[in-house]
C-alpha cells in the first residue's frame, strides 16, 4: 500500500473515532463542539508519556484517554446546567481554552509543538475503530442503550420511569471524551509531531458536520459520514486549489437536500431485514 493511501486511511480511521466521540455525547441530546479539546488532552498526555517517560504506546493511549475522560466528566457536570445553544457555546469555549493552554504549556513544547511520538499503525487505528463499533453495536441492543435513547427522546418521561438522567448525561460526556482522547493519542503517534493548532474549533465543528451529514439516528451514520467526508477532499484533488471551495459547497448542499443525514435508523433496519431474508433463502 502506498504511503499516500495509507495516510488517507489512517486519518479516515481517526475521523471515524472522533465522529463516534461526538455521537456518544449526542446520544443523550447534548452536543459538543469542543471534542478537539478532549482529543488534544489525549494526544499531548500520551505523547508526553511515551516520549518523556518511555511508556509503551498502549498504556499511554489509555492513560491519555482516561485523563480526557476525567476532564470530560468534570466539564460534563457544570455543563449540565446548560442546554442547547448555551452548551454549544460552552463546549466551544472549552475547546479553545484547551488549545490556548497547550499553546502556552512549555513542558509539551508550547508554541513550537511537540515532536517525537510514534508507533501508531493502520492496524492499531482500525482495531480501535472496530472495537468501538462493537461497543456501540452492543450498546444498541442493551438495556443501557435503550435508556440512553429514552433520555434523549424524553428526559422527563425517562426520569419518571426511574432512569437517572443526570448520570446518563454525565457518563455520555465522559465516554465521548474517552473516545476523543484515544483518537488524539493515535493521531499524535501517527503524525510524529503535534501542535496546538491541530486541535482548533474548526476540527470540532467538522466532526459534528460528519455526524450530522452521516445521520445522527444511529452510530452507523457517524461512521459512514466520517468515512465519506474525510475521503471526499482527497477524491476532489483533481480540481486542485478550488477543492476546498467545492467541498464546502457540497457540505452546504448536503445539509439542504438531506438534513436528516445519509444513514437513517429505518435504513439500517431495512438493510438488516433484507440481510436476514438473504440468509434464510440461502439456508433453504
Amino acid at each position: 500500500m502506498s504511503g499516500y493511501i495509507e495516510g488517507v486511511l489512517a486519518l479516515m480511521g481517526i475521523n471515524i473515532l472522533l465522529a463516534l466521540s461526538v455521537y456518544a455525547i449526542l446520544m443523550t441530546d447534548q452536543c459538543s463542539v469542543g471534542n478537539a479539546g478532549f482529543m488534544a488532552i489525549g494526544a499531548y498526555t500520551s505523547a508526553y508519556l511515551t516520549v518523556k517517560m518511555g511508556l509503551p504506546l498502549l498504556p499511554a493511549l489509555v492513560i491519555g484517554a482516561a485523563l480526557a475522560s476525567l476532564i470530560g466528566l468534570l466539564i460534563g457536570i457544570p455543563a449540565l446546567r446548560l442546554k442547547g445553544l448555551y452548551l454549544v457555546i460552552a463546549t466551544l469555549g472549552f475547546g479553545e481554552m484547551v488549545r490556548t493552554f497547550f499553546l502556552n504549556f512549555e513542558p509539551t513544547g508550547g508554541a513550537s509543538g511537540f515532536r517525537g511520538p510514534m508507533g501508531t499503525t493502520l492496524f492499531l487505528i482500525y482495531a480501535w475503530v472496530v472495537g468501538f463499533i462493537v461497543v456501540f453495536w452492543l450498546l444498541d441492543r442493551s438495556r443501557l442503550g435503550r435508556s440512553f435513547d429514552a433520555v434523549r427522546d424524553d428526559p422527563e418521561a425517562a426520569s419518571t420511569m426511574g432512569l437517572d438522567v443526570i448520570w446518563h448525561k454525565v457518563w455520555a460526556f465522559g465516554f465521548g471524551a474517552f473516545i476523543a482522547g484515544i483518537a488524539g493519542g493515535l493521531y499524535a503517534h501517527y503524525m510524529f509531531y503535534i501542535e496546538s493548532g491541530n486541535f482548533s474549533f474548526l476540527l470540532s465543528t467538522m466532526i459534528l458536520l460528519y455526524v450530522l451529514l452521516g445521520g445522527m439516528q444511529t452510530f452507523w451514520g457517524a461512521v459512514i459520514g466520517a468515512a465519506i467526508f474525510s475521503i471526499l477532499p482527497e477524491v476532489l484533488r483533481f480540481i486542485h486549489e478550488w477543492r476546498l471551495s467545492f467541498y464546502g459547497a457540497v457540505l452546504v448542499a448536503m445539509m439542504i437536500f438531506r438534513p436528516s443525514g445519509i444513514i437513517t435508523r429505518q435504513m439500517v433496519r431495512d438493510l438488516g431485514e433484507r440481510l436476514d431474508k438473504l440468509f434464510q433463502t440461502a439456508r433453504t
Binding site: L82, G84, I89, L103, L209, L212, L244, Y247
Partner: protein, 288 residues
Amino acid sequence: MFFQQLINGLMLGSTYSLIAIGYTLVLGLLQMINLAHGDVFMVGAFLGLTFAYLGIPLYLSLILAMVGAGIMGILVERFCFRPLKKAHFLGPLVSTIAFGILLQNVGTQIWGSEPSRYPQTAEIAQFHLGPVVVSSIQIIILITSLALMAGLDMFIRRTRMGRAMRATSEGQVNASLLGVDPDRVISFTFFSSGALAGVAGVLTALVYLQITPFIGIRQGLIGIVAMVIGGLGNVRGAMIAGLLLGIIEVMNDAYFTAGYRDIIIFGIFFIFIVFKPEGLFGAFKKET
C-alpha cells in the same frame, strides 16, 4: 502610558464590538450562531484592501465594503439558515462552518494565502493630547464604529424595521400575525450583521496593515466571547463587552505576558458561560 493603552484598547475593542453585534443580532432572532461571521468579516477586510488599491477614498470604500459584506450575510442566510428550518437545531451551525471554509478558500484563491499589505493611501497625522498620542486612523476607527453603534441602537429602538426586528425575535408566529414579514426581517438582520462585520474588517485592515484570508477565525471567536459576556442577544451588552475585551487585551499585552492573552480571554469566556450564562447585562429571553 495608562491612558494611551486605554485609547488603544478602545480602538481595538470597537472593532470587536462591531463583530459581536453581528452575532448577537442573528442569535436574538434565530437562537443560532453564524460561524461564517468571522469569514464575512474577512471578506469585508479584503474588499477594503482591494478598494484602497483601486484608489477609492476610505469613506467610499467603507460603504462599499459594508454593502459587499452585507450581501455576503444575506447569502449565508439563504444557504445555511432558510433551507434548514426543519433540520436539527445544529444544522445551521455546521452548515455555516462549511460556508466559512468555502469563503476562506475563495479568499485564498483571489488574494493568496500570504499576508496582503494594506496600501498607505492617506497621510497619517499624529495628535498630541497631553501625554496621549492619537493618530488620525485611530480617530477614524473610533468615530466610525461608535457612530455606527449609536445609529444601530437608534435604528432598533426608533424605526419601523427596528420594531419589526424586536417583534420577530420575541416570536416569529406572533410577529407575522401582526403583519411583519419574518423572512424580510431575517434577511435585513443578516444584511446589517454582515455590513457591520464588513466595516470592522476594513477598520481592522487599517490597523493591522497586513491581512490573510484566515484573519476571521480569531476575530470571529473573540466576537463570540464579547457576545457571551454582554449577554446573548443583548445588542448594547455586545457593544460594551467588545470594548471591555479590547481594553483587557491591550492591558494584558502592556502589563502582563502577551502569550497568556487568549488563555485569559477564553478563561473568562468559559467561566461566564458556565456560571453566569446571562452575561454582564442580561441575556435576551425568548417568550414561549
